[in-house]
């Protein structure tokens, strides 16, 4: 079994409205009317608009639901975002077009607190990757009385469709770089490099109900048990975000497609490790579910012959217990673990950062303290729902001023403490 995928990347450096959706000399032109028509028929929305936000502009997007990198299949079976845009078929082979440097950002009235923002400039820009992407923002309003679950589904589907639309319209664009990802199955690869340590990856995903869900091939992950996928499948959008909380450490669909752990393990595969594969796994709300999941995670790792596992968390709080269980069970089976997690160390940085602890968690990579405060200046333009600013994270120390400036926890900024280790931020002792 050999799975080979080419990511053919078209570099986008600017985004503008235009007559025809296409990429010319690094500028993504968007046919606004045509793009809206993709979702205009959706009766769940009373209103739908598009707007643009470019790196360096004084623009705030709030509240952010998801961020999607425009991708579409060029060759090979299936289509990206299987179960939503693509049909029901496994993906990850052939060739996929990527509009690198562009993103679709979905935005709609707030459903729960802990939704977040993207600033395209200023202090918050350093903390989130989407201040550096050229964003096409979808702003919707649900029809009155729409059930929250339906609203969330509608917006999720819309974002994915629009992401595919942009890539699809640009399939003729000149490709700037090609990255190739090729790997057979775990047994073949382990046999090729018998002396290298075998590493698996637990991609813990939040699976806890409304706005806290993740989808694998269209399946709501809270109803499944952990399983094994080839890393290429993530690149074609097999894992989709169904959650927008908490802003700082949610894995957007963009993060899933550009998983830095997958990237790093692939980069070193055959050099100082053997990358066995990705185990998408759950964060259940009940103890029995946590036990089931973590036992099965450890078993999967053991059956694969893993010497070590990289474990990334999504969210914080009760999933910290799953984190501890994963570490303890694997270590006790002789599978070494490293955890990537953020910390809730309090505004003063003095609190214990995890809700739970276990002595086996000896290798910990910090994705930062989510409670650290930042002072954000007002932005000239706010895309979305300015009034939802009043409902951010809800930390007691926060202050939101009438001029639009705010003193907020890092929690409020999308991707600021992403636990896939996307950015270089981390907390240290002072």
């Amino acid at each position: 079994m050999s799975v080979r995928l080419e990511l053919r990347k078209v570099r986008v450096r600017d985004v503008q409205w235009g007559d025809k959706t296409s990429v010319e000399n690094g500028t993504l032109f968007v046919d606004r009317k045509e793009m809206l028509s993709v979702i205009n028929g959706d009766k769940r929305f009373s209103k739908a608009e598009l707007d643009l936000a470019r790196p360096g502009e004084s623009v705030r997007i709030i509240p952010v639901k998801d961020v999607i990198e425009p991708r579409c299949k060029l060759e090979g079976p299936g289509e990206v975002f299987p179960g939503f845009v693509g049909g029901m078929q496994t993906v990850g082979e052939g060739a996929t077009l990527v509009l690198e440097g562009a993103a679709v950002v979905t935005c709609g009235p707030i459903v729960a607190f802990q939704e977040g923002l993207i600033d395209m400039t200023g202090p918050a820009a350093a903390y989130n990757p989407f201040s550096a992407t050229n964003n096409v923002v979808l702003i919707v309003e649900p029809v009155e009385g729409l059930d929250q679950h339906d609203y969330e589904t509608a917006l999720r589907e819309a974002g994915l469709k629009l992401g595919w639309y942009l890539a699809d319209k640009c399939r003729e664009a000149k490709v700037d770089t090609v990255s190739t990802y090729e790997m057979e199955g775990p047994q073949e690869e382990a046999a090729k490099y018998p002396d290298l340590p075998k590493i698996a990856y637990f991609c813990m995903s939040i699976t806890q109900g409304l706005l806290h869900d993740t989808y694998l091939y269209g399946a709501d992950m809270k109803h499944i048990v952990p399983t094994l996928i080839h890393p290429n499948e993530k690149m074609d959008g097999a894992m989709i975000s169904g959650n927008c909380v908490s802003a700082c450490d949610k894995n957007t669909t963009f993060h899933h497609c550009n998983d830095p752990i997958v990237e790093e393990l692939y980069r070193r595969h055959g050099k100082d490790l053997v990358f066995l594969g990705v185990i998408p796994t759950l964060e259940d709300t009940r103890l029995a579910g946590k036990e089931r999941t973590t036992w099965m995670n450890a078993n999967l790792a053991k059956m694969l012959g893993a010497d070590g596992v990289v474990v990334s968390e999504e969210g914080y709080g009760n999933p910290d217990t799953d984190l501890c269980m994963n570490a303890a069970k694997c270590e006790n089976l002789g599978v070494r673990t490293v955890i990537i997690s953020d910390e809730a160390a309090g505004v003063d940085g003095k609190s214990q950062g995890l809700a739970d602890a276990t002595p086996e968690m000896t290798a910990f990579v910090s994705a930062g303290n989510v409670n650290e405060m930042v002072e954000l200046p007002p932005m000239e333009k706010v895309i979305g729902f300015a009034e939802s600013i009043a409902n951010l994270s809800g930390g007691a120390e926060e202050s939101l001023r009438s001029d639009g400036s705010m003193y907020v926890e890092l929690q409020a900024i999308i991707g600021s403490t992403n636990e896939l280790g996307f950015s270089s931020i981390g907390a240290r002792w002072v």
């Binding site: 350093a126 340590p197 590493i199 830095p260 752990i261 990237e263 790093e264 393990l265 070193r268 100082d272 490790l273 010497d307 070590g308 596992v309 990289v310 070494r336 673990t337 490293v338 955890i339 990537i340 910390e343 160390a345 003063d348 940085g349 003095k350 214990q352 950062g353 995890l354 602890a357 276990t358 002595p359 968690m361 000896t362 290798a363 910990f364 990579v365 910090s366 994705a367 930062g368 303290n369 650290e372 890092l410 992403n418 636990e419 896939l420 280790g421 996307f422 950015s423 270089s424 931020i425 981390g426 907390a427 240290r428 002792w429 002072v430």
Partner: protein
């Protein structure tokens, strides 16, 4: 205008004397004294040492509120921009005094305070959050390295420079988490760390699991009249002549001594060999540290069943934590074996 630094030292480093002067109350000089003189040299051009406050270690320990208040007043009068205390090395009382002074300075005077302690000094755990404690050697032999390290940090604080992590800046963490941007992303750092772990190589975790050092209190004794009680001491009370050559500090052993038939400790049979406190009283009457006499009286009265016929003793000053823990385990084993019901441990 040069910045102003005030130093805090104990009676010994002020040249007043050793343990016998440990009860000296606070005093101050408008000049550098003891190690403050070298600090003054190291700070030349940057800041002036405008004064030194001195206090006996036992005085501070036994009169915490008054000593702190008096020292704060003296230090405050000299209007420092920063305070440097110690270094205390592994001296527990000195460490506590330095830590307390530094914490109070920060809290009450609003200026930063730097001190130096050996990492096992009890002052570290108590005061690391309130002071910048630079790790130093376990004895004054390390003075020549301690002062430059402390002054280097003090300089940055005086200049109000942005500091990196505690590890980078060379002080013991104050227990606060702060976000920094590393050179590489979290994913890479994770894979690096995991491969080291698998290979059995040393790695540094970015967040240590909290260590729960407390143990659940043992259940109370229900029947005191029939209970056997043991006496243990870290006050260095040993039979005259110290037959087992227990060290006066940094003890590497403890002694087990038969006291059956002994009703009283006197200079004829026991002495103190503890190097960390003034032994005048202990040598005149060792019962003031290891209370054999009154325990015998109460045993005869029937207050409790029996006094265990051995005492365990060691010196508690500068004793490495690992050694103390080992002694505790061994003593515990012995007491368990002999069915002892409770123990009284005295420390100086």
């Amino acid at each position: 205008m040069a910045k102003r630094v005030v130093c805090y030292i104990n009676q010994f480093f002020a040249g007043m004397g050793g343990e016998e002067q440990a009860h000296t109350p606070p005093s101050s000089k408008t000049e550098a004294a003891g190690p403050a003189m070298q600090i003054r040299q190291l700070l030349e051009g940057e800041a002036e040492v405008v004064g030194t406050v001195i206090c006996g270690d036992s005085y501070y320990g036994e009169n915490l509120e008054e000593a702190r208040a008096a020292c704060m007043e003296m230090i405050g009068e000299m209007k420092p921009d920063l305070v440097i205390a110690g270094p205390a090395f592994n001296a527990g009382r000195y460490g506590v005094a330095c830590g307390d002074v530094c914490s109070a300075v920060t809290e009450q005077l609003g200026v930063p305070a730097v001190t130096g302690m050996y990492h096992e000094n009890p002052g570290v755990e108590l005061y690391a959050s309130g002071a910048y404690i630079v790790p130093v050697a376990d004895s004054a032999r390390g003075m020549k390295d301690a002062l430059p390290a402390m002054v280097s940090l003090a300089r940055k604080l005086l200049r109000k420079e942005t500091l990196g992590s505690a590890a980078d800046e060379g002080y013991i963490s104050r227990g606060i988490r702060k976000n920094f941007f590393h050179q590489t992303n979290g994913a890479r750092r994770a894979v690096d760390m995991l491969l080291k772990k698998i290979a059995g190589e040393e790695f540094v975790t970015e967040y240590e699991m909290p260590v729960f050092k407390r143990i659940n209190p043992a259940a109370a004794v229900k029947n005191l009249e029939n209970a056997t009680i043991a006496l243990v001491s870290s006050g260095g009370i040993v039979p005259s002549g110290n037959p087992d050559h227990i060290r006066v500090s940094s003890a590497e052993s403890y002694g087990t001594y038969d006291i059956s038939g002994l009703d009283d400790l006197t200079p004829d049979n026991f002495e103190s060999i503890h190097g960390g406190y003034d032994r005048v009283w202990a040598n005149e009457d060792p019962d003031t540290v290891l209370p054999l006499d009154i325990m015998r009286v109460m045993e005869k009265e029937g207050v409790f069943g029996k006094l265990y016929d051995h005492v365990f003793t060691t010196t508690g000053t500068g004793t490495a934590v690992a050694n103390a823990e080992q002694f505790g385990r061994e003593i515990g084993e012995q007491l368990k074996k002999d069915g002892v019901d409770a123990a009284i441990l005295t420390s100086t």
